[in-house]
Every structure is written in structure tokens, then in C-alpha cells.
């Protein structure tokens, strides 16, 4: 990259924020998704409805929360409901437009693993936090967007454990499993954007950030990555986007870019 007045993490947050439209309802995971969702609300989507699994509906935090249950979310929400209600009444029937998730490991069909890596389930090499709200967010939101840094350790041919279902083993699986939402539509990374191929549902590269070379993206992908014929070069962050992001982070106190459930 030549023009380095922004970081790849900032580009990722801006790119993810742009994927959200004003007026949408968005079920938000903490970390990168929460940063991007709040950036969207601070810029082009002031009417974005943020829903956190802590039961806060329509939260309007002025700074970035560290957890999904920070007081700022409850104090600025349209409504605060209990946890059974947020999942049963609000998420399960398919009322939410987009689920915005992070991942520890993701595969070419957009299946997410946040449970265990390596070894077997009872004796894993790495024990991850687990499911949280993600399995039902991935199943029931009208669509899903995943925000995750890209590496060949996190982008794998097949996840070690399916915590949250993307397209399973390919076309037809979501229907067969009775998953009501359409599934993951974008994986937004620190290199670019991946979207499912129309026939195979296998994620392929559809956009790169300025200065990112395709071989770099391939090196950091654990499957044989296809590049879409109409590959887009994504516009760099505007001055306004970058200013809004930095202001949010400066007000965030403890700033975290870790993604979790």
C-alpha cells in the first residue's frame, strides 16, 4: 500500500459500515461488528436500529461499548427486554434485517466456528468462547454479514466445528435444515469483500481495497479462492468516514477490535 494515512482495520470498519443501509434493523455482535454498525449510524445511516443480545433494542450509544451489556446501551435504547424475549420474540420470527457477526474461523461456505480449534471437542487445542447468540442470528436474520480479519488460519476449507451455519455443505442445505434467513451475503475483511458465488454459494473475492494485490488475498485464504470477473476496487475511506470512526474510538475508552459472540 502506498497511501497509508489509514490502517487496514479502519478500511475494514468503513467498508463494513457501508454495507448497512439507513433504516435497517441490525442484530449486532460486539467488537468489529459493533464498531462498524456504530460508524454507520454516525455517518450515512442515522436511522439504523441497533439490537444487542443483552435485550437492548434501538440502542444509540455515543461511544463504543466494550461489552454487549454496557450501561450506555440500556440508557439510550428504545426498549430493554429480557434475554428470552430478545431471542424468542425479536430474532426467531425473522423480524431483523441483518445479523452482523464476527468469527474466529470461517470456511468457504460461510460456516462460522467460535467453539474449538484442533484436537477433538473434549480435548481441543484451543477452546474458544462458544456460541453466544450467533447460531440463531445466523439462522434467523434475513441476511448475515460477517466482519473478520483475514488469514489462512481463520479462512479455512472446512471449519473444525460448525457453531453457526452459513451454507452448510453447499446449495440446498439451508432449506433442508429449515433455516429461515437467507444466510451470509458478505464477508468483510481487512483486505476486501467476499460474496457467495451465485451457483456454488462458495465465497469468492468480489472487492479489494486500494493497494491490495490478489495474490496477497489468496495467500491469506485457506481454500482455492476464486476471483469474481467483475472485481471491484473499493473506494478508500472518505475524510468524513475516517473522522467519524476516529471520534467514536477516541470516545470509546477501552477500544477493542476483538470479535466475539
Amino acid at each position: 500500500m502506498t497511501d497509508c494515512d489509514y490502517t487496514s482495520d479502519e478500511m475494514m470498519a468503513v467498508s463494513a459500515a457501508r454495507a448497512l443501509r439507513d433504516g435497517m434493523t441490525c442484530f449486532v455482535g460486539i467488537g468489529l461488528p459493533s464498531t462498524a454498525a456504530n460508524l454507520a449510524r454516525a455517518t450515512h445511516a442515522p436511522g439504523l436500529v441497533l439490537i444487542y443480545e443483552s435485550g437492548t433494542i434501538g440502542a444509540k450509544p455515543g461511544s463504543l461499548p466494550l461489552s454487549i451489556g454496557d450501561g450506555i446501551l440500556a440508557q439510550t435504547a428504545d426498549a430493554v427486554v429480557g434475554v428470552p424475549e430478545i431471542f424468542n420474540y425479536w430474532l426467531q420470527p425473522g423480524r431483523i434485517d441483518v445479523g452482523f457477526l464476527g468469527a474466529a474461523q470461517i470456511d468457504k461456505f460461510g460456516n462460522i466456528n467460535t467453539t474449538v480449534i484442533g484436537g477433538d471437542y473434549r480435548k481441543p487445542k484451543v477452546r474458544l468462547p462458544g456460541a453466544g447468540g450467533a447460531p440463531e442470528i445466523a439462522a434467523s436474520c434475513r441476511e448475515v454479514i460477517v466482519v473478520v480479519r483475514q488469514s489462512n488460519r481463520s479462512f479455512v476449507e472446512r471449519v473444525d466445528f460448525i457453531t453457526s451455519v452459513g451454507y452448510g455443505s453447499g446449495p440446498g442445505d439451508r432449506e433442508r435444515l429449515g433455516l429461515t434467513g437467507a444466510g451470509p451475503k458478505k464477508i468483510i475483511t481487512d483486505l476486501g469483500v467476499l460474496e457467495p458465488g451465485p451457483a456454488t454459494l462458495e465465497f469468492r473475492l468480489t472487492g479489494v481495497y486500494p493497494g491490495v494485490e490478489i495474490p496477497t488475498v489468496r495467500e491469506r485464504t485457506g481454500w482455492d479462492l476464486t476471483v469474481a470477473p467483475d472485481l471491484e476496487t473499493i473506494a478508500p475511506p472518505s475524510t468524513a468516514e475516517l473522522a467519524a470512526l476516529r471520534e467514536l474510538q477516541a470516545r470509546g475508552g477501552v477500544q477493542s477490535t476483538r470479535s466475539d459472540g
Binding site: S54, G55, D70, V83, P84, N88, Q92, V126, G130, L179
Partner: protein, 264 residues
């Protein structure tokens, strides 16, 4: 009727070795002081239930109080791993930890079933995930539409422990803000302990509050700041710095052991 007692007495009376214990509070109102008292009293072989084990169960697991964990998300929110939890699962330190793992929706529904006096709850979930084939998750067919759904078994803890903003002298409890599954945890349990920020002469009405009538609660103990480093809306703010600093303590067995000695 709830008895108003000291925290030490509440834990001594309500929590026994081998019990199934649910300490709830979804980021907000986590009953840390009560958890620390369980550690001080040296309880063993507990089955710990909590949607988000958080630092409190990291501490109880590291202290050797737990035999089994029933949970849905075991991380340090916004910071990273719970290293005592990981050490127990990955290396069996200080003791092996049996896991019963769910999603948040599954856990919430298991509490709802317990509070409702039903043996199971039904949800649309788990299909296609690696969690789908465990003992407390089973497929079920809707008798009306034939839809393939998922049943989760009820949670019926021996004791629930929660923290709330306040109680009156009769032991009626009021909590508000993010209320999580605290009501369901108390109503699904055989016994309950509620720690409160303050005990007041009378509770003024709050339209946004959850009320646990005195006759649904076993013991109430006044423990100001009893949720720290979590928080009680209207009384304290979340100590995010403590959560960040816990990472280094939790990561290292020696640092954790020192923390444990300081707690006694």
C-alpha cells in the same frame, strides 16, 4: 418469605457442595461478591450454570469450585479469553471441567421451561450446528404443522444467585436496566440468594422494573457494590479497566493463585 441475612450466612445456608448453582446477570448485575463468598467458603463439586461465565466463573473454576459448566458464551467480553476456563478445558487445571454447551437462545429457553414448570422448551435452533446432538438438545416435530424444531431440557438449579438494585425490609426485590434471565433463573431454582445494593424502607414503583416478590426469594443480603466489576444501573458503572486487567492475572497460574490468596 425471604430472610434478610448477611452474605456469608446466605451462602452458607443456600449453597452446598455438589449443588447445581446458577449465578445470572447478563453483563449487568453480575453477583461477583456472592461468587467470591462461595470461593471463600471453599465449596466443591459444583455444577455451575451461567449463559456468559464471565470473570466470575473464570474465578470459581480457577479456584477449583466447579466440576461441570453449563453455558453458552465463555469469553472476557471485548477483551478475549477466559484463561482459567481454557486452562481447565485444555489442561485439566486445577481440575477437569465437564461442559454442557448451548447457544444463548437455548439457555434462555431452558430457564423459561424451568420457570414455567415444564420439562422442556421448543425453539427454532441448532439445526446443522455441531451443538445439535448433545443430551440436552433433541429434535422434535411440531404436532400441528410437522415442522422440525428443537427441544431443550429445562434447567432446574438447586440455587440461583443474582444481584439487584434494591429490596425492601420484607425482602421484595426490584431490579431494572438489562434484566437478562435473572427472573427466570430465580423462578426455576429450588432456592435463591439475592444480593442488593441497598435495603430500603419501601420500594417506590418503577414501570421498567422487574419485581421478585419476597415469597419467591429465599435469602436477601445487602452488599453495596456487590456486582463490581460488573455494575448496577443507577448505582455504579462497569469497571471496563478491571476486565482488561483480568486478562494478565487470568493468563498466568501464579498470578491467579496470588489473586486467590488475596481474596481470602
Amino acid at each position: 418469605m425471604a430472610r434478610i441475612v448477611s452474605l456469608a450466612e446466605a451462602v452458607r445456608l443456600a449453597v452446598h457442595d455438589g449443588d447445581t448453582v446458577a449465578m445470572e446477570g447478563f453483563t449487568h448485575l453480575i453477583p461477583f461478591a456472592a461468587g467470591h463468598e462461595v470461593i471463600r467458603q471453599g465449596r466443591r463439586d459444583l455444577t455451575l450454570i451461567r449463559m456468559t461465565p464471565d470473570l466470575i466463573y473464570d474465578q470459581l473454576i480457577g479456584a477449583g469450585c466447579a466440576r461441570k459448566l453449563i453455558f453458552s458464551w465463555g469469553g472476557n467480553p471485548g477483551v478475549g479469553s477466559l484463561h482459567r476456563f481454557r486452562d481447565a478445558v485444555e489442561h485439566g487445571w486445577p481440575a477437569p471441567l465437564e461442559l454442557e454447551e448451548h447457544s444463548h437462545a437455548g439457555m434462555a429457553n431452558r430457564y423459561v421451561a424451568g420457570a414455567s414448570g415444564l420439562p422442556f422448551a421448543v425453539l427454532r435452533g441448532y439445526n446443522g450446528t455441531g451443538l445439535a446432538s448433545t443430551g440436552s438438545i433433541r429434535p422434535i416435530t411440531c404436532p400441528f404443522t410437522g415442522e422440525a424444531l428443537t427441544a431443550v431440557s429445562a434447567l432446574r438449579p438447586d440455587v440461583a444467585i443474582v444481584h439487584a438494585q434494591r429490596a425492601d425490609r420484607a425482602g421484595n426485590v426490584q431490579l431494572w436496566g438489562i434484566v437478562g434471565v435473572q427472573k427466570e433463573a430465580v423462578l426455576s431454582s429450588e432456592r435463591s440468594v439475592v444480593t442488593v445494593e441497598e435495603i430500603v424502607d419501601s420500594l417506590d414503583q418503577r414501570p421498567d422494573a422487574v419485581v421478585l416478590p419476597s415469597w419467591t426469594v429465599s435469602y436477601v443480603a445487602e452488599v453495596p457494590d456487590g456486582a463490581h466489576p460488573s455494575y448496577a444501573l443507577g448505582y455504579s458503572v462497569r469497571d471496563n479497566d478491571y476486565y482488561a486487567k483480568w486478562d494478565a492475572i487470568s493468563r498466568d497460574r501464579e498470578a491467579f493463585t496470588q489473586w486467590l490468596e488475596d481474596l481470602q
